[in-house]
Symmetry: C2
Subunit: 355 residues, 2 copies
């Protein structure tokens, strides 16, 4: 029998043991079972939800480390900072509202936003929650193509890099949640698009399923500069940066005048004791390059416009969206850890209690 | 007696011996005396000028080296490429038109733009020449505050970095031709401005004559990150980049969210066998920083607006402009070479035949 509002029920949770150094390991997390009352406390504007999907995202690693040396970074990431040990994990997810003290949400609503890594969550910080209006697409998409990674790709493509028809576009980490969308947006807008990824399977995906003009496995290239010259004999107009390090250095050598570099992330660098130095930055000045860091969080005013653009692409099958789903909270730690070794194939999601 | 149109006259010239490696030395140039006929050849749209001032600019070093590895750079710098040995030097200057085959210029006009390092020049590529309309200010200013460096500072400040009132602005190489103007624009717009320079005298100039809020000698700072934290406890909103290397790395650590970095040049890096790696670029992504390379050449449509802004600043003495002038073509090679050791104090100009 389905639990009802007011019941005390058992609540499986993925707990966070302590701040990590380096990449998270499975042993940094553990499962436990608590008890939760399925009711929002009197007078609170929280919502109580049943989690349906939770999302594994590369940026979660930051929220598992003590922020050292990232001046001012904390200011913008309050919900992800773990102030004490033994906290349940947080992250983006899709959930159903069971009880609400918040006028914006009512029981039965489907929402996406930041929730707990557990079966049921009492969400007190509701700012990130967005009500799901369109359910003719898989709900899991709201952890990806229609959620944070989708907004990231949309903002990066249309607002930051803004490639024009016929321009040469390069996407690194192109099979990831953001990269696969950016590459497809670029094709839909008439650009020439090449992606890099870290395995033969991912390269095949890019070329054969996602419609990239070309793709290569960066692990098989000894000279990234030569590789880029091969794929872009005319140079690169717009680079979507997800990896940093040697790839960025090679890209700078191959950028065209007035080129743009949209910096979403630099995943190769986050966990090095000493970050790799980028030696070709002078090309920013030589070639009047525009390099811009961005994050989804500054673009949510565009969410309705984003849905107007992307929902038709999905319904008309103009966009292919690849998910890597695991079932059950107990498999969430391994799924998250797998992101950092590139084990996932497409957007990594955990089905907690699919509808 | 002043030479007349049609006369054959002797023409002192600074010759360029061959492509240099590293910084230019005085011995890479030599003086010679040729003969020039003071007349534009029949049917040509060239202009024949008497040079008044010539300008020494850091970027001239590029045009003295074989362009290696600067993909696509050449396309934009045709006039400066020395295709054969024993060419006279070129550069920005102020000149008087003696004879003209070009409908845009007539004898007696004063012009600024790219001319030869010689007493008289036959200028066949006239695209860069701009007629001087305002002569109530020193003509030498058209090699600096009213010429290419002025346009660079104007575009960098108003079009690229665009600091707003109350923002924290940092300028490196702040006593240089571009830096001193940017800092003063920033003060006029109500910003808080700190500059770095390489000597006590330059720091004194910034603080005591140019009105910077503060300034420091980077050569006396062992830890640039700590220095910047001292001068910018709240962080930096806009950085005007002229040096690169360690300074840029320290700046990245101290940038605020949504900060802007306007990249005019990276003079510390141009002549290293191996460029210093920049390790803190991740902050571009973390803090949504905008980094943009730019050059004056893309902003000449704004030249009238630029004059409308800057001429009143000069006439009302709201801007201090510091020149380092030497007399005579024979001193031009040493003046140019001095730029690269920081010997000049303010904008370096050579008076060839001041009016």
């Amino acid at each position: 029998m389905a639990p009802r509002v007011g019941d005390d029920v058992s609540n499986k949770q993925v707990m966070f043991r302590d701040y990590v150094t380096g990449y998270p390991k499975e042993s940094d997390m553990f499962l436990t079972t608590g008890i939760i009352r399925l009711k929002v406390p009197q007078g609170s504007d929280a919502v109580l939800v049943k989690n349906i999907y939770i999302s594994c995202d590369p940026r979660m690693q930051f929220f598992m480390r003590k922020a050292v040396g990232l001046t001012g970074y904390d200011r913008f990431t309050p919900v992800f900072v773990f102030h004490e040990n033994l906290q349940p994990m947080f992250g983006y997810g899709v959930a159903k509202v069971l009880d609400s003290g918040n006028p914006k949400f009512k029981a039965g609503d489907l929402v996406w936003g930041i929730t707990g890594w557990e079966e049921y969550s009492l969400i007190t910080k509701t700012e990130s929650l967005i009500k799901i209006q369109h359910t003719d697409v898989p709900l899991s998409y709201y952890t990806g193509i229609l959620g944070m990674p989708g907004m990231t790709a949309y903002a990066g493509f249309y607002e930051v890099g803004a490639p024009k028809k016929g321009e040469y576009v390069f996407v690194s980490a192109a099979s990831g949640a953001v990269g696969q969308l950016i590459g497809q947006f670029a094709k839909l807008e008439g650009c020439y698009v090449v992606g890099s990824a870290g395995s033969k399977e991912k390269v095949d995906l890019l070329k054969n399923k996602l419609g990239f003009d070309d793709a290569f496995n960066y692990k098989e290239e000894h000279d990234l500069n030569a590789a880029l010259k091969r794929y872009f004999p005319e140079g690169i107009d717009v680079y979507f940066e997800h990896v940093g390090g040697e790839m960025l250095d090679a890209v700078l050598l191959n950028m065209r005048h007035f080129g743009r570099i949209a910096v979403c992330g630099m995943i190769s660098q986050y966990n090095l004791d000493e970050h790799q130095g980028i030696k070709n930055l002078m090309h920013i000045g030589f070639k009047w390059i525009h390099m811009q860091g961005y994050a989804h969080r500054n673009y949510y005013h565009l969410y309705p416009k984003f849905l107007d653009t992307v929902l038709p692409f999905i319904r008309e099958k103009k966009i292919v969206y690849v998910e890597d789903a695991v079932e059950g909270l107990e498999n969430a730690p391994a799924a998250l850890v797998g992101l950092f070794s590139g084990r996932n194939f497409g957007k990594q999601v955990v089905a907690v209690a699919p509808e």
